[in-house]
C-alpha cells in the first residue's frame, strides 16, 4: 500500500524534560514516506511536545531526530522541510488571505506570477477559491482552518504536521474536514503527522496510529491492530469501548473469567497465569437464555444509541457492556456468547504493588517515604534493621481515604479502569511512585486521596542481590 518504504522521520531515543517533569521518555519512532501517522493520547501525554520537537519549536533534551536522513535535532524551525497547521490556526491578523498563504513563498523570493498561481492552486485545493482578498478575521472557524492548511501546503513541504487541527470545529464540520484531509493526503502524496486526542478521528484517518501515555509510546500499529489487539489496559480502555476483566490463563487456548472457562486463540502465556481479558461490547452475542449461552445474566439498563442499543448486563458479580442491534428491556434474563476470536488476552503488567524499602526496626519498615508496621509472619528470610528490602502489597489491600491525616502518604488518582466488578486505580503518590489499588468505591480522576496500608497486608523480603546496598 505504501509507495515508498524508506523512513522520512526518525526519532531515536528522544527525551524531553521541563525542569523536573519528564514530558517525553525515550521515544523511538520511525515514519515512512507518504504515511498518514496519528499520534494519539490523552491531554498531557506528550504528543504535542513530540510534534513540536519535529517542527523545531523545542529541542530535545536527549536523543536524535532525523528528517529525510539528515540530522536536524538542533536545526531551527525555519530551516526544516516541514510545515505546521496550528491548533488555533495562527493566521496573521494583519495580512489578508492571499498574503497569509503567500507568506512562505515571499520569503523564498518567488516570482510574482508563479506565486499567484501557487496560491490560487492551494486555495482551490482547500475549496476556498475567490477568498484571496478577504480579511482573515472575517472568516469562520472552518474557513480559517482551510486557509491555515493552504498556507502550509503551498510551500510543498515533505512533511505536514497537524496539531489537533480540528479540535475547535463543531462535530459536523469536523467530520467533513476529516474526509477532506484524507482526500488531500491522497492527492498530495506527502507525509502527514497528525496529533489528536480523539480516538475516533485517529481510527478514521490514519495509516498508522501511535498511542502515547505519560511520555511513553504504548503501541504503534494500524487502526485495526490497535483496535483488535491492544497491548495493554491503557490502550484497550482509551481506544473505543471495552470490557476489561481479570482472568486466568488455565492453559494454551483456554481462559477463565467471570467464573467460567472460555476457549480462546491466544497461547504462550503459561499455565494458571493471571491475565487481563478484553472483550469489545459489539463482540458479545445477546439472546434469550438458551443452551448456547456461555454466560447468563440480567439486563440492568438499555439505552438506544442510534444505530445500536447499549446494555449493561450483570452476570454473577460482573457488569458487562454489550452492544447489539436488538434491545432487551431492563430486567430481562439473557444469555451471552463470545467467539474465541473475539477474546483478546493481555499479559498483566503487574499482579501486586512492589516497592523498594528499608527495615527501620523490628517489624517496622519504611517505604513510600513513610514508616509502616508489619507482622513478623509476613517477613521472609532474615532481615535486620537497616537492611534494604522489597515490599509487596496486594492491590485490594490498599485503602484510600478522603481526608488524609498528617502521618498518611497522599496521592492523586490519575487513571481509573473498570474491571467489571471493581475499579483498578493508579494513584500517583507524593513520593513520586505509583500505587495501584483495587476498590469498589467510586473515585474521580484527579481526586486527592490519603493512602493507608494495614500491617497484615505488607509482605517483606530481602532486596534482590543487585538491589541498592544503602
Amino acid at each position: 500500500m505504501q509507495k515508498d518504504n524508506e523512513p522520512i522521520i526518525e526519532v531515536k531515543n528522544v527525551s524531553k524534560f521541563f525542569g523536573e517533569k519528564t514530558a517525553l521518555d525515550h521515544i523511538d519512532l520511525s515514519i515512512r514516506k507518504g504515511e498518514f501517522v496519528t499520534i494519539l493520547g490523552p491531554s498531557g501525554c506528550g504528543k504535542t511536545t513530540l510534534l513540536r520537537l519535529i517542527a523545531g519549536f523545542q529541542t530535545a533534551s536527549e536523543g536524535e531526530i532525523r528528517i529525510g536522513g539528515k540530522e536536524i535535532t538542533q536545526v531551527p524551525p525555519h530551516k526544516r522541510p516541514v510545515n505546521t497547521v496550528f491548533q488555533k490556526y495562527a493566521l496573521f491578523p494583519h495580512l489578508n488571505v492571499y498574503d497569509n498563504i503567500a507568506f512562505g513563498l515571499k520569503l523564498k523570493k518567488m516570482p510574482k506570477d508563479v506565486m499567484e498561481k501557487k496560491v490560487k492552486a492551494a486555495l482551490k485545493m482547500v475549496g476556498m477559491t475567490d477568498y484571496e482578498y478577504r480579511d482573515v478575521n472575517s472568516l469562520s472557524g472552518g474557513q480559517q482552518q482551510r486557509v491555515a492548511i493552504a498556507r502550509a501546503i503551498v510551500n510543498e513541504p515533505e512533511v505536514l504536521l497537524l496539531d489537533e487541527p480540528l479540535a475547535a470545529l463543531d462535530l459536523k464540520m469536523r467530520k467533513d474536514m476529516q474526509m477532506e484531509l484524507k482526500e488531500m493526503h491522497k492527492r498530495l502524496g506527502i507525509t502527514f503527522v497528525y496529533v489528536t486526542h480523539d480516538q475516533e478521528e485517529a481510527l478514521t484517518l490514519s495509516d498508522t496510529i501511535v498511542v502515547m501515555s505519560e511520555g511513553k509510546i504504548q503501541q504503534i500499529g494500524t487502526p485495526t491492530d490497535i483496535y483488535n489487539e491492544p497491548v495493554n489496559c491503557f490502550v484497550a480502555d482509551f481506544i473505543g469501548e471495552s470490557n476489561i476483566l481479570n482472568g486466568t490463563m488455565i492453559k494454551d487456548k483456554l481462559v477463565r473469567f467471570c467464573g467460567k472457562e472460555f476457549e480462546c486463540v491466544d497461547e504462550g502465556f503459561g499455565e494458571n497465569m493471571p491475565v487481563d481479558v478484553v472483550i469489545r461490547p459489539e463482540d458479545f452475542y445477546i439472546f434469550p437464555v438458551s443452551d448456547a449461552a456461555q454466560l447468563v445474566g440480567k439486563v440492568q439498563s438499555c439505552i438506544f444509541k442510534g444505530v445500536h442499543y447499549e446494555m449493561v448486563v450483570l452476570c454473577d458479580d460482573y457488569e458487562l457492556t454489550v452492544q447489539d442491534y436488538h434491545g432487551f428491556d431492563a430486567g430481562t434474563e439473557v444469555g451471552l456468547l463470545v467467539k474465541p476470536m473475539d477474546i483478546q488476552i493481555m499479559k498483566k503488567e503487574r499482579t501486586c504493588n512492589t516497592f523498594e524499602g528499608k527495615m527501620v526496626g523490628e517489624n517496622r519498615v519504611e517505604f513510600l517515604g513513610c514508616e509502616f508496621d508489619c507482622l513478623s509472619e509476613n517477613i521472609k528470610g532474615s532481615v535486620a534493621a537497616g537492611d534494604a528490602v522489597e515490599v509487596e502489597v496486594d492491590f485490594e489491600k490498599v485503602n484510600l481515604e478522603d481526608n488524609a491525616s498528617a502521618d498518611m502518604i497522599e496521592g492523586e488518582v490519575k487513571f481509573i479502569l473498570y474491571k467489571g466488578n471493581h475499579y483498578h486505580l493508579t494513584v500517583h503518590s507524593d513520593w513520586d511512585e505509583d500505587v495501584f489499588v483495587d476498590t469498589n468505591d467510586v473515585w474521580d480522576n484527579g481526586d486527592r486521596v490519603g493512602i493507608t496500608i494495614p500491617a497484615e497486608a505488607i509482605r517483606v523480603m530481602p532486596a534482590k542481590a543487585d538491589g541498592n546496598v544503602n
Binding site: P76, H78, N83, A90, P93, N96, F103, L107
Partner: protein, 265 residues
Amino acid sequence: MKKALVFFSSRKSWTLPYLIFSIVFVIVPLLLIVVYAFTDENGHMSLVNFSKFLAHPEAINTFVYSIGVAIITTLGCILLGYPAAWILSRSNMGYSKTIIMLFILPMWVNILIRTLATVALFDFLRLPLGEGALIFGMIYNFIPFMIYPIYNTLQKMDRSYIEAAQDLGANNFQVFWKVVFPLSLPGISSGVMMVFMPTISTFAIAELLTMNNIKLFGTTIQENINNSLWNYGAALSLIMLFLIAATSLFSTDSKNDSSQGGGVW
C-alpha cells in the same frame, strides 16, 4: 417623593456630577478659548489674532520648532523604548515587573522636581544646558509612556504567530519585521498619542533645561497669557488644539487599518 427616588436610583442620574464637572471645567473653558481667539481686545469679532500669528515669523518658527522637538522626542522614545519593551516582554514575569517598576518609579515624583534634579545633574556633570539637555529631559520624562503600551501589546501577542512565521521559513530578523512589528503597531500608536501630544505643549522642561534660551510653543502661549494678551494666547492654544486633534485622528486611523502596515511613523 417616589419619582425622586426612581430618579436617584437610575444609573443615568449618577452621571450627573460628571456631566456638571465636564461642562464647568472642560466645555465652557473650551468655548471661552474659541470666543477669545476670534475676538480682539475690545470684544469685537475679528481674525486679527490669526493674522498676527501668520504675520509673525517668530511665532511660526517657535511653532515649527516645537513640532520638530516633539517629533524627535517621540522618535527617540520609540527607538529607545521599543527594545526595552521587547526585552521586558521576553523576560520572566517577576524580573520584568521589577524593571517596569523602576521605569515607572520616577513618575511618582512631580515633573518639576524631576526636571530641577536633571538640571542639577547636568551642572554636576558639567554638561551644558540647551538643546541637547532639552531633548534628553523630554525623552527621560516621556519614555515610560512609550514603553508601557508597547510592552502591553508585545506581552499579549500570541506566541503561535511567531512560531507560524518561523515554520514558514522566516529567520529571526524576518519574524520581527514581518510579524512582530506590524502586530505591535497599535501599541506604538497609543505610545505616540501619549508622548507626541503632551510634548508639543510642555514649557516647564524647556524653561528649566535651556535656562529659558529655547522657546517652545507652550512657552509662547504661557507668556502671552501671563502678559494678559488673552485673545492672542487663546488663538495660539486653538491652533495647538487643532494640531493635537489631527494627530489623534491620524493615530486612530492607523490603528483601525493596521493591515496596511500603518507606516506613518
